[in-house]
Symmetry: C2
Subunit: 491 residues, 2 copies
């Protein structure tokens, strides 16, 4: 795509836009269009699409540093890399301390033992983050299959001494939210009912015998069981074998929880030219799982927001408000970075006028999302035209959000976001296969361009967004699940 195609007269763009995103009947009458400095869009969108800078950074992070689970050497190296990179871009940056969990994977293997119906099979599994280890010789028990937390509860103590196998029907990315609770809370529930282990079908939209890890949570001081994900293939195998007769599984998990580690969020900022105390916060999480190299989750988000900062810094004049970038540590297994930021900056939060976290992979942009009080879409609408040719000049039906910014909810910070196509995100999410080759450089460049421009819009627009109501449960126990925007279905 040529850059010039993206820069067109605002009248044409507004005409196109009015077709793409009709004003909601519920929203306030459209305000008189603000004077949007479209010439700036060229300076943000152009380089984002042509220079390949975000993708090159993603290669440094994934090939150069690799996996970066909280507490690991990779995570520490990523912090130093991010600091160096911001400095190379001339963007002021610093670290802020975060105490993080330090869970480490060990030897792990599983097998279906031979029986009347099978000569036995290996099980392809990954311990879930937070799982305790088995005894060194492993754990052997009969499998009980359940398809939901409710079904487990109904079994009562019939699971005593057994390995609970959680099966489910995740088929498309949009199912993630429905089933993530099984991974997050299932093993703890199984432990309470006397089970000795848990196997969870991977939360996957594709598999080539590919296990997907993720975190599971046990209550402080409550019972625990060794817990692992198995591939969808192995889940199907277990399902068939369980239907035919008793199935015994052996699992060996060598994982362990080390003492909490000292780590850091990386924070950078471009001070606003007129309202430096008003902060537009953009972020992504720097940690990843210990498998794969976290290219989509969340390397892509990291390089998008870093590149937005680099390009904003190069503008002839800074935006009206301060743009602050936070690369959070520990989104995957604790959310310590998100909580630490909210705590350390509590006094500033009333002046945080907007916040975004990019954390749904490096897909192409498909829309803009908002979570704010009345009139937010009307305020943003005049700023959307430069996104037409990127395919993102419409409002998503999904509310903006993000795990690491969820601690800002009680402070009623408005959220915004660039929605990306996440339809194939759960093919690789939390797997060994989340690697650089899975990220399309064109898609990444387009989403980066959209992030840079929308961030500028929030930092430059004359109005500030009306703050939303505070939610009933301010700190969600589970990070909100990234789901693909509904508007992406037809693309």
């Amino acid at each position: 795509m040529s850059v010039s195609a993206l820069v067109f007269s605002s009248s044409l763009a507004l005409k196109l836009l009015s077709g793409a995103a009709p004003a909601s009947a519920k929203s306030a009458p459209a305000a008189k269009p603000a004077v949007v400095p479209l010439s700036v869009s060229e300076k943000l969108v152009g380089p984002a699409l042509t220079e390949g800078h975000a993708y090159a950074r993603l290669a440094e992070l994934t090939d150069g540093i690799g996996p970066r689970l909280s507490g690991s050497e990779g995570a520490a190296a990523a912090v130093q890399w991010a600091l160096r990179s911001f400095q190379a871009d001339g963007v002021k940056a610093w670290t802020e301390s975060v105490k993080v969990p330090h869970w480490v994977r060990g030897e792990e293997r599983g097998e279906v033992l031979a029986s009347d119906t099978t000569r036995g099979h290996p099980l392809f599994l990954l311990a879930l983050g937070g799982s305790p280890p088995t005894a060194p010789e492993g754990l052997t028990a009969e499998v009980v299959e359940v398809s939901s937390l409710e079904a487990l509860t109904a079994l009562g103590d019939a699971v005593k001494g057994k390995i609970v196998f959680f099966n489910h029907t995740m088929a498309v990315a949009a199912d993630y939210g429905r089933f993530a609770g099984i991974r997050g809370r299932g093993p703890a529930q199984a432990a309470k009912q006397g089970a000795v282990g848990a196997l969870v079908r991977s939360l996957a939209t594709a598999s080539l015998r590919t296990p997907h890890t993720g975190s599971t949570r046990f209550e402080e001081g409550g019972p625990t069981v060794p817990a692992a994900s198995v591939t969808t293939e192995d889940a199907e195998l277990l399902h068939r074998l369980v239907a035919a007769g008793p199935v015994r599984v052996k699992m060996v998990l060598g994982c362990s929880e080390l003492p909490d580690a000292d780590s850091h969020n990386v924070v950078a900022e471009i001070r606003g030219r007129e309202k430096p105390d008003e902060v537009v916060l953009i972020g992504a999480h720097l940690d990843s799982w210990d498998v794969g190299t976290g290219a989509h989750d969340d390397g892509a988000g990291v390089v998008m927001v870093m590149e937005a900062a680099r390009l904003l810094k190069k503008l002839p004049q800074a935006p009206r408000r301060t743009v602050r970038v936070v690369l959070y540590m520990n989104e995957e297994n604790g959310l310590a970075g998100g909580r630490a930021y909210a705590q350390a900056h509590a006094a500033e939060l009333p002046r945080h006028v907007a916040a975004m976290e990019m954390d749904s992979g490096g897909g192409r942009p498909v829309g803009v999302s908002v979570r704010a009080g009345t009139g937010a879409q009307d305020a943003l609408r005049p700023w959307l035209p430069p996104l037409v040719a990127l395919g993102a000049a419409n409002f998503s039906t999904r509310e903006a959000g993000g795990a690491d910014i969820s601690p800002l909810l009680p402070a009623r910070v408005p959220f915004f976001g660039v929605e990306v196509d996440a339809s194939r995100y759960f093919d690789v999410h939390h797997t060994h296969a989340d690697t650089l080759d899975k990220v399309d450089p064109q898609d990444l460049a387009r989403s980066t361009a959209a992030v840079a421009w929308v961030t500028y819009a929030l930092a430059e627009m004359p109005q500030t967004l009306v703050r939303p109501e505070a939610p009933a449960t301010p700190f969600p126990v589970a990070p909100p699940a990234p789901t693909p925007p509904k508007s992406a279905a037809g693309h």
Copy 2:
């Protein structure tokens, strides 16, 4: 699909067919249509599509027995299972001795060592069948990347002491034949030039960090090197890192070649009612790789031909000629079963009137292939109408063939085949992911029906096919690569 939809008047069918497969201008004028007993098609196609018998057998073979590399306990168990299954079907069956290679996989792992450009990475690899082991402590050397055997030759002794990394551009199933020689002959060539190891990019059309194994060949008494396949992701990683500077890899392979083992082909037959000495041979290979459960390769072929025999045996009267089923041992790493059959039955081969091997997975049928002398298509054409609703009533542009029947080429046995959609076959071929869930029961049933009917056609037709010319090189060194039929491209 209802069975009744498949059974229609021959006039309608022939009309449909004449549109689907116009007579070639080069072929002889069409013979007067033979009297084709269409009522029999109902007795073959109906049960194949409705009873699910082939799929149930495939579950027994894959879930119950699992992998079955030549010489393994799994292979021996599969022989006994096949014998029992034929006997349960009332089909006379026996075993014929085959001496097979007995290669076993051991511990295996690889890693890219840390350097100025990377903190290091694990490599996801599988030793290639036939590879020698590394020393127990592994092998560490610098990587040299080449993209072809010619490029390797051009490097001469510049690869001395190095690990040769074979990269290539396989993208679709039809590319397999172009690149399989790199896996088969590359490591031997690298060894001759003084290399100390070989890594071969997996021959894959999809990957989630999924290595694809396969056999590699060294000359008797010639130099060898430890050789493994790496995933496409790891190949891309190596490619990027090699471009940036020297890359050192450590690989540990614990595989070994044990003494040749005693094994068996399983042979079954339905004696012909009029010409019992004329043999229509149908087959598939019973061995599989030691990873996955060989569901597509070649469990699917095995159950198709077994089911064809079961259904032919249930007909009110046997076909005119003898139908013989051979489940070959050792297609994957030696072809000992195919050679043993040709040798043991050498005297009979002049009366082998047709031979087929099903070995391209369990996809849906897309056509019928032939390799014979003049007039073969004309002789077969009247028998195609029952395949219209199965989508296979056309002639493939590809010649029929198969690794295990290639030793029959010098005897000029005509070959036939049911071509299946193999466009996704190389997603799972020779991987841990070749498991039952990858085979669609409907597709398998349709191809099974087509195999049963086409086999019947060859055994019942009044004519015998004209024998083809003998090939210049009768025993191919490498098994012919299964490639998807060109006619499948538009489906």
